[in-house]
Each structure stands twice: as structure tokens, then as C-alpha cells.
């Protein structure tokens, strides 16, 4: 994809996510304050900041899974490719088809590897009928190849997803999103339950997926943000403090608080 520089121009088509004046309350507690954010299409953008700074809240607002809590109130707008997802007419099933989510703890379904990958197509198929055998085989192979699991698992597609190693589980959770062709992937600390080798493998995968998907990733791990993202957003107490390309944020942070955080003086 294009490697154009970050601009403040809000109208151009290179913005996958455009958040404007987003405020969010959990009951009486305001978790997000006037958040403005522009996420470049096809890039990996990481959200960093200390615990409770609102980065996960922001992430979960994009596919509106926060709302399930019931006591959440939101103002402002979140536009994906120009369409406001907070609009009441948005069909959540379609939104979640377009916006895949990966969680901190891998959560494969208690089904076979194959059925895990096909789950989305079964949920979203127009006439509700699963694709035929050959078609499913193709979908499974394609998705597993894309997440670098095919060679490991091609002979054990009937194994339960929940029996795999954590690294494989997390890759499977990513593979599961791909068959319905999402445009955006949200990842909430996708490596924090994994060992170093698993982390490295999943980071490699995320890096490989950039360009084909816009990826927004929350991480606690500075080194990971630095290694595996192209843009970086630093949040503190519900506000965005700094947003720049990753290299310059880590080499030359514009804000004093950002500098203190990435140097590990608080967290």
C-alpha cells in the first residue's frame, strides 16, 4: 500500500478510521476525552499508554463491543471509510464482519480447526448455507496459509482449536477473521498471553498482514510497539497526547510525558 506521510487532512481516502471529538463515559466516569484520531489505511497503528488510559476503550469503541456493558454513553463520531459507525442504523453484524477483533487471551471456539476458520462464513453467508466442501477446503487453506499455520496444521484440521498451543491458537483466531474479508483488524494486546517465541511469531504475522488490512493494536509492550507498528499513538488519562510515526516517536518524542512513558519512568 501507499507509504504516504501522515497528514492532518481529514477528507482524504487514506484514512481508514477517523475519530472526531469522541467522548465516552462508563456511568459517571469519563474514559475518553475529545479524542481525535486518524488511522491510515493499510498501516499498523499501535495504541500505547499506561493502564487505564483509555486505549482499550478506544479500540473497543471502533466495533462497538463496549456497548454490551449497557452503561456506556458516547458522543462524537467514529467514521470507518467515511461512514459513522455510531449511527443507530448501523447493522452490528455487518460492522463486526468488516472489523475483526483479536483478544488478549486467544479464544478459539471449541470446534475443530477447520470449523473455527469456517465459522465466520457460516455466520455471514447470505443464504445461511455453508459453502460446499471444495470451496470450504479452499477457504481453510487460504486463511491458514495467510497466518502461517497451514504447514503445521494441514494434517490436523480436525483437532480442536482449543487444544493447540497458545501461539497456534492466537494465529487461528486471526485466521478465523480472514474468510469474511474484514478491512480492519483490532488487536487488544494480542501477544501478552504468549511466550517470547510465540510473541515473535505472532508479531511477524501481524507485520506480514499490513497493507492487506488496516491494523489497530493496543500494546503494553514498548518494544513491540516499536518493532511491529508503523504509527504510534500515545494516550494518557483518556486523551491522545501524541500521534506520530513510530520511529520518530521513539527517537524523538514531542511531548515530555510521552518521553517519560516510553523510557519506562511510569507505566
Amino acid at each position: 500500500m501507499s507509504a504516504e506521510p501522515v497528514t492532518s487532512d481529514t477528507a482524504d481516502a487514506s484514512a481508514a478510521i477517523l475519530v472526531e471529538k469522541l467522548n465516552l463515559w462508563y456511568g459517571d466516569f469519563q474514559a475518553l476525552l475529545d479524542v481525535d484520531l486518524r488511522v491510515r489505511a493499510g498501516a499498523i497503528t499501535s495504541l500505547i499508554g499506561p493502564s487505564g488510559c483509555g486505549k482499550t476503550t478506544l479500540l473497543r469503541s471502533v466495533n462497538r463491543i463496549n456497548e454490551r456493558l449497557g452503561y456506556v454513553r458516547t458522543t462524537g463520531s467514529i467514521r470507518l471509510w467515511g461512514l459513522d459507525v455510531l449511527d443507530p442504523s448501523v447493522e452490528l453484524a455487518q460492522l463486526r464482519k468488516q472489523v475483526g477483533m483479536v483478544f488478549q487471551r486467544p479464544n478459539p471456539l471449541p470446534l475443530s480447526v477447520r470449523d473455527n476458520v469456517l465459522f465466520g462464513t457460516r455466520v455471514h453467508l447470505p443464504d445461511g448455507r455453508p459453502p460446499n466442501r471444495a470451496e470450504s477446503d479452499r477457504i481453510v487453506e487460504e486463511a491458514l496459509r495467510e497466518v502461517l499455520l497451514w504447514d503445521e496444521l494441514k494434517d490436523s484440521l480436525d483437532r480442536r482449536g482449543t487444544e493447540l498451543s497458545l501461539e497456534q491458537q492466537q494465529k487461528l483466531c486471526i485466521a478465523r477473521l480472514l474468510p469474511v474479508k474484514p478491512k480492519l483488524l483490532l488487536m487488544d494486546e494480542p501477544c501478552s498471553a504468549l511466550d517470547p517465541a510465540g510473541t515473535e511469531a505472532v508479531e511477524e504475522l501481524i507485520w506480514k498482514l499490513r497493507g492487506d488490512y488496516t491494523i489497530l493494536i493496543v500494546t503494553h509492550n514498548m518494544a513491540q510497539a516499536r518493532r511491529a507498528s508503523e504509527e504510534c499513538v500515545f494516550m494518557l488519562l483518556g486523551e491522545i497526547i501524541e500521534h506520530s510515526d513510530t520511529a520518530s516517536m521513539f527517537l524523538n518524542p514531542a511531548n515530555r510525558q510521552t518521553a517519560a512513558y516510553i523510557e519506562g519512568r511510569y507505566g
Binding site: 466495533n63 463491543i65 454490551r68 449497557g70 452490528l92 453484524a93 455487518q94 460492522l95 463486526r96 464482519k97 475483526g100 477483533m101 483478544f103 487471551r105 479464544n107 478459539p108 471456539l109 471449541p110 470446534l111 465459522f119 465466520g120 457460516r122 455466520v123 455471514h124 480442536r160 482449543t162 487444544e163 483466531c173 478465523r176 477473521l177 469474511v180
Partner: protein, 289 residues
């Protein structure tokens, strides 16, 4: 440095004491079951024969078999299951998967707990009033089974709800976040993983239903009816009531007969429980997460 102090020895003694106490209590728990079974087998065993199981009672129920009661109990249980399982499972699905946490839901939960606490004789009178008289089913298998169904509904609901809640929330979230509806989530993930618990609840209901006497006394079970029911609007004999009748209401019943009836009844219940355990073990073996 590593020798036991007086305090350590005291602790160890108290530890041993409590261990023994708890072990003793556990044995106390098993003892009545073992005794009941033992007595029934010793004193009722001689009564059991093919003839006892598969012929009609004769000579004013002092001889012959128990076939109509056996068949009647099966009828009652099956019809009660057909009535209560769909309702109970649906209610549990609603309460566990859809219901918002509000006053109505809490009231329903309270009602279920209370329903479970209603004495069975009260259910019997309710069944008499509602099914026998108001709905004009008469004293029949249908009326008796519906009474049993109402009575055991809380068992099914609670067992189903509990087993639904053992399915981790993470699976549901994974589904919802892929755009699956609640129903798709239930059908594809929640139910298949909760089915063993639901079956356990159903089988518990079977054992409870087959032994109940009071609720069927006024609603459909007959004192003596030496032929087999032909449909749900017939009256029928039932094992539990038959046991009560030949133990207390009929003179000159040979002693081994009531013990034999009790043995058959408890064997049915234990067999159902055995099947339920086997089922659970089998299904648990397939589910790993």
C-alpha cells in the same frame, strides 16, 4: 532447626481430627443409601421374577405382578418430560443468554426458586384444580404428567442454566465479535457444550418424577386398574402409588412384594442415574478447553 515444635504437633493432631471428622460424616452420608439398597435386595430380591415384572396383579394385589404400574410409570415420566423439557430448556436459555439483569428477571428467578420449594402435595392440589377440573383432562395420565412437569420444571431450568453458565463467556464473545447473533451463538457453540449438563438435569427429573406419589394421587394414578393405559387420557397405575397402596392399604400382602416393588423402582432410578453419569463422562471426554 527442622524438628517439630509443640505447636507443630498440636496442629498436626487437630488436622488429623478434622480429617477424621469429615471422613466420618461422608461415611454417614453413604450409609443410608447402602443400607436401603441392602435391605431392599435381601428382602425384595426373592420377589423379582419375569412373572413379577410382566404380569397383572391378582387376588386383590396380594399376588401376581406389577406390569400396569411399571408401564404406567413409564407413561407418566415420558409425558412429563415431553411437557417440561422444551419449556424448561427454553426458559433457561432465555434467562441465561438473553435476559437483561433487571427487576423482571430477578422476579422470575425468585419464582423459580419458590416453585422448587413448593411441597409436592400442594402441586397435587394445583394439578387437581388446574388440569383435572379447569382444563377438563379428568384424572388422567395427561393431568398427572402435567402436574409432575410443573413440579420438576425448576429442576430442568436450574440444571440447564447452570450448565449453560459453565460455557466460558469468552466463547460467546468470540462469536458475537464475529457478528454472530445470540441464536447462532447458542446453536453453534453454547448448546453443544452445555448438552451434557442439560441431559443430567433431564435425567434427574426422570428419577424424581418416577418416585413422586402425592402429585399423581389426585390427578391420574389409580389404586387398582388391571389393564394397560391406551392413551394419555386414561388413568393408570404407577409404581410409587402401588408401593404405597400395597404397603398400607391392602391387607395380607406377602412381605416380599412391597420390597420387590421398591427394589424395581429404585433400580429404575439408579439405572437412569447410571446412564446420566455415563453420558456425562462420554461428553466430557469430548470437550476440552
Amino acid at each position: 532447626m527442622f524438628e517439630a515444635t509443640a505447636q507443630n504437633r498440636r496442629n498436626r493432631k487437630v488436622e488429623g481430627l478434622f480429617r477424621l471428622l469429615f471422613l466420618w460424616m461422608t461415611c454417614m452420608l453413604i450409609l443410608p443409601v447402602a443400607l436401603i439398597l441392602g435391605v431392599l435386595i435381601v428382602r425384595g430380591g426373592p420377589a423379582i421374577s419375569w412373572e413379577f415384572l410382566f404380569t397383572q396383579p391378582i387376588n386383590n394385589m396380594t399376588a401376581g405382578g406389577i406390569l400396569p404400574a411399571l408401564v404406567g410409570t413409564v407413561w407418566l415420566v415420558v409425558v412429563a418430560l415431553i411437557a417440561s423439557v422444551p419449556v424448561g430448556v427454553a426458559a433457561a436459555l432465555y434467562l441465561s443468554e438473553y435476559a437483561p439483569d433487571n427487576r423482571l428477571t430477578r422476579a422470575i428467578n425468585l419464582a423459580i426458586i419458590n416453585l422448587a420449594g413448593v411441597p409436592s402435595i400442594v402441586h397435587a392440589l394445583f394439578g387437581l384444580g388446574a388440569f383435572v377440573i379447569f382444563f377438563r383432562f379428568g384424572t388422567s395420565i395427561l393431568a398427572a404428567s402435567l402436574t409432575l412437569a410443573v413440579m420438576t420444571l425448576p429442576v430442568v431450568i436450574v440444571a440447564t442454566r447452570e450448565s449453560l453458565q459453565t460455557v466460558p463467556l469468552a466463547f460467546r464473545e468470540a462469536c458475537w465479535n464475529m457478528g454472530a447473533t445470540r441464536w447462532q451463538t447458542i446453536r453453534k457453540i453454547v448448546l453443544p457444550n452445555a448438552i451434557s449438563g442439560i441431559l443430567t438435569g433431564v435425567i434427574l427429573e426422570v428419577s424424581r418424577t418416577s418416585g413422586e406419589t402425592a402429585p399423581i394421587m389426585f390427578t391420574g394414578a389409580a389404586f387398582f386398574l388391571p389393564f394397560l393405559p391406551q392413551g394419555v387420557l386414561d388413568q393408570t397405575m404407577a409404581m410409587s402409588l402401588h408401593l404405597f397402596v400395597i404397603s398400607t392399604q391392602v391387607p395380607d400382602v406377602p412381605e416380599h412384594m412391597p420390597f420387590g416393588v421398591a427394589l424395581v423402582l429404585i433400580s429404575m432410578v439408579l439405572a437412569m442415574n447410571g446412564i446420566s453419569i455415563a453420558f456425562r463422562v462420554y461428553l466430557r471426554g469430548r470437550k476440552k478447553w
